[in-house]
Point group: C4
Chain length 182, copies 4
């Protein structure tokens, strides 16, 4: 990324008030564990702590999947995610429902996706992001491509970019380093 | 691949009407998760969306395993796969039953495999494919070897090759990018 | 490996009548999936087909773990493994019980291990093998170190070495390639 | 590491009487498998044998997580870990409770962590360790960064460093190699 692009990206990250992402391939590496007892998905603890920290600092969080799964519901509930959509249909429409409900604009949205069903929201969001393992069509539309893959901390990477651009990251670190002096 | 081979491959891909593949090592990375509650297999969401898209565009889909597993049955049912064989015995015979039932010919079949039990159908199919992690004997017989491994999107890779060779991929992308304008 | 060592190894492989291996780190990559419903282990389908093929060609198969696990018992039962030891205590003693029962000698044993508890049998077996991910102490004692890691096909690799050294591999391949002509 | 640093590290390792570590990202690779039946974590057998061997040689062992999980409780119970903390709140405070209970000092503690919630104890421990996959802020504070990642044997690596610095490793190896001569 050249410096100018980078500063433009930072300006856009500074405006983010709503963090939305796809689930499979973004919060996971696209693996789906299937057996007689139903299905499991492999989430990442770093992403979880990142999303909780982001919400604690005033950014709302939502997940948008086009495939309903009890595994997704369970993890969203653990992390107290603000919005959860798991229906077939247009993801652009799903985001627009959240915008209508919250009063936010597309340019205040950061959206992270990996596959062709994410092309619409990546194209429209203020900060459209494709994960490292995304299809080429998603990377071509994205303003940022993560260094690590989905399920390996890609969401955490974007969360830190937002918190840094909004000047909130240093206090997070200071808090955790000095916790016994509180 | 040199250009001539590539155009021959494309001609063969254009004729595919039946997509068949092995399960373990192709739709998974050959991992099998075993515990007291039975077994789990790790499928890939990209493969799933690929197979559904392929069926939506007129290619029929079947899985041929020589090892019965409730995990395979569960995933096949989620994806509404047209044919599912899970019996010990010759995979060539299994394919020929499907050909007899559907009226398709071997040259209209794309078959993807990884291990020695797949040698027969890889050798006979119009487009015999070995995944990146296949045994050398399978790669030697295959017309195409995938770039990514089984369970990592190998089936999705072949699905996209078919849809591109049949001139159907561009409309898939256009549909997903423009979904809110519908 | 220089040619002389290689031909010595082949001579030793040709004499193998009993294939024994550790479980965790050899048939798996040392991962253990733990939850409220008990534990899962991640086995490899290629290893499974390899062990079944080896037994079909007259080599007996056993697993020796020093940690009892229902996951191991379930997979051993699927593959109809001849011997299964899962007790704390010396693995050398466990092998010697099998030798006493079967009448085989240490030099007819191929043993595959990865960790310090495997040092004894790796040292004594006709063909002591360490997997690619084994501790350095195990590799130092082994006559062969696998190219791929435990759970990634290491056991399959050794099985093929044995079948090739015993002149049985070509007929396995011929059988699977020509299956519909039977 | 230059020789001087290395000998300083060895001196510190020689004093360790209490081995403490985080769970997610250290004993696992930060993966969390979530489904309807609860959650699974992927531990490593090498770490398990390492921790048991460490306890057998007089070093006490504890795990400190800020996220309660039945998967963690189950694995801690299998390994008979001496201390298990799984509460929200300061990890420095958790360590200090253990120090008060046992009479050990911070300089006798080896603490292994990966994320921002581990910064406090990594900073204060006699031997603060960050795993290979740790966040940069943790690596910056650590006296040692492991070569392998969390869940891939990082804890085993540190355990061996301690046992070697305390002159106990050679007898472990001799015991396992010669087990049938006992």
């Amino acid at each position: 990324m050249d410096p100018q692009t980078s500063s433009q990206l930072e300006e856009r990250l500074a405006k983010v008030k709503l963090f939305l992402c796809d689930v499979d391939g973004v919060l996971t590496d696209a693996s789906l564990f299937v057996g007689l007892e139903g299905e499991y998905k492999c989430f990442n603890i770093l992403d979880g702590l990142g999303l909780v920290t982001l919400r604690d600092h005033g950014v709302r969080v939502g997940w948008i999947s086009s495939r309903p799964s009890p595994a997704t519901t369970a993890r969203a509930s653990q992390l107290k995610v603000d919005f959860l959509y798991q229906e077939k249909g247009s993801k652009v429409d799903a985001v627009e429902k959240i915008l209508a409900e919250t009063g936010f604009e597309w340019e205040e949205v950061c959206y992270v996706g990996d596959d062709i069903v994410d092309l619409g929201p990546i194209d429209r969001a203020g900060v459209g992001v494709a994960v490292a393992n995304a299809v080429p069509e998603a990377k071509a539309l994205a303003r940022y491509v993560t260094r690590v893959g989905g399920g390996k901390g890609a969401v955490r990477e974007v969360v830190e970019l937002i918190l840094k651009a909004q000047g909130k990251w240093e206090s997070v670190i200071a808090f955790h380093t000095g916790r016994s002096e509180k």
